[in-house]
């Protein structure tokens, strides 16, 4: 079986990397050791929602996936803090408060023509 080498132009998902056959003498493309999953496109440590991870969307803490995490930082530098009753998003422009329905109800920062 041919060895599949990941390249920048054709990145593979973590699952693809995991099924890629190991070639003796080379570093594996992905590894799972206990609760630790490491791939070039994704990193996860922990189990259930007690997970710290990173992938192409950013880094996160407290959920299995980026979108569900109560704490996450996106690749464009936004920090998301989320609880059931709402969320805070912090970026270089300021802090935005969202209610439980996703409506922004508070802002503190810089935004052209808002004040």
């Amino acid at each position: 079986m041919a060895t599949i080498m990941p390249t920048m132009s054709s990145p593979r998902s973590a699952d693809q990397e995991l099924i890629t056959q190991f070639v003796s003498g080379e570093m594996p493309l992905g590894q799972r050791i206990g609760g630790l999953s490491m791939f070039s496109a994704e990193f996860k440590r922990g189990s259930g929602n007690q997970v710290f991870g990173s992938n192409s969307k950013g880094i996160w803490l407290g959920a299995a996936n980026f979108e569900d995490a109560p704490f996450r930082v996106s690749m464009d530098g936004k920090i998301y803090l989320q609880i059931e009753s709402g969320a805070l998003v912090i970026d270089a422009n300021g802090i935005t408060q969202f209610d439980e329905n996703g409506v922004p109800v508070g802002f503190w920062g810089i935004r052209t023509g808002m004040f």
């Binding site: 922004p104 508070g106 808002m114």
Partner: protein, 318 residues
């Protein structure tokens, strides 16, 4: 109601009762849109007005103070013989979608031809039902805004904001509510003392060094009445119409750079008609109580709220 975005307390937020929180974003706050000075020189009959235009597109709430002849500042809203020496002269404010109007109406007027100075505060907050768009220009880029529940803070109208750093807010100075009691004794007129007038006051020394915006209330039965008391103006007017046969009761609140003073004025006029009628035309001996209505002794609770706004401070834009 949503949970607080932020709150600032004197002590531990987890244990402070809400009343002690200096700022709680669960509730909206009064937002001052424009503030400044205005003057009116009424005509010979005491009538005059001054208009302060605004671009809110709705009738806003406002606060209005007038400088009294004794140099104190007093909230505007009702006739006050105690303040102006003329119970029939009235000064009041009205707002609509274009302006705040301050108006004087003369009566027997002590207002005639004399310049009166005012301090006004036009608020972003509405005084009427209104759901449209205001014309407030948003030219600033930095600050903090909190909107009402379910209102998008980036798209909502300014009057839908619980707070915005675009505006000055009315903030309490130190203890926001201060109470005192004032004991008023029995008061009456008699055959040999036919027109009794009594004034008593209670002072609150605020220590600000400037005359502050304030609100004042006094207890009346089980209710708390705000000063100036418009309901009282009607009572006072009827006194004049009936040639002062009946008693009157008047209260004024005013402040200067040292204190806020709540002053009560009670008047009891001897009722000759009643006197003669009840005695078949014969006179009572001197000293007999026969005033139309006596003022019973009472203890009045007075309350003030002192804010940080300086009534003689800079105006908007300065």
């Amino acid at each position: 109601m949503s949970q607080s975005v932020f709150a600032i307390a004197d002590q531990d937020l987890r244990t402070d009762p809400i009343i002690n929180l200096k700022r709680l974003s669960d509730f909206g706050e009064l937002k001052i849109y424009r503030w400044g000075n205005a003057s009116i020189t009424p005509d010979g009959d005491g009538n005059g007005f001054a208009d302060i235009p605004h671009d809110l597109n709705y009738a806003p709430s406002y606060d209005l103070f007038v400088k009294l002849p004794d140099g104190y500042w007093s909230p505007v809203g009702a006739a006050s013989s105690l303040a102006f020496g003329d119970a029939t002269a009235t000064i009041f404010g009205v707002s609509d979608e274009e302006k705040l109007r301050i108006q004087t109406i003369g009566g027997y007027s002590k207002l005639a031809s004399l310049q009166r100075d005012f301090r006004y505060y036009i608020l972003v907050d509405k005084a009427e039902g209104f759901n449209g768009s205001s014309n407030i220009a948003l030219t600033g880029d930095r600050g903090m805004k909190l909107s009402e529940d379910d209102v998008n803070v980036f798209e909502g109208q300014e009057y839908q904001m619980r707070m915005s750093t675009k505006y000055r807010s009315l903030q309490y100075f130190k203890e926001h509510v201060v109470q005192e009691t004032l004991s008023l004794p029995l008061m009456f007129s008699s055959h040999d003392s036919q027109d009794n007038i009594e004034s008593q006051y209670v002072d609150f020394d605020h220590g600000l060094g400037y005359p502050p915006l304030f609100k004042a209330f006094y207890g009346s039965g089980s209710t708390l009445r705000k000063i100036p008391d418009n309901a009282y103006a009607a009572v006072q007017a009827s006194d004049i119409v009936t040639q002062a046969y009946y008693t009157s009761f008047e209260v004024v609140a005013k402040c200067n750079s040292d204190r806020v003073r709540l002053q009560f004025r009670r008047r009891s006029v001897f009722d000759k008609e009643l006197f003669l009628g009840e005695n078949g035309g014969s006179h009572f001996p001197p000293g007999q109580l026969i005033s139309a209505v006596q003022h019973q002794p009472k203890t009045i609770t007075v309350t003030i709220q002192v804010y940080t706004e300086n009534l003689e401070g800079s105006v908007y834009g300065e």
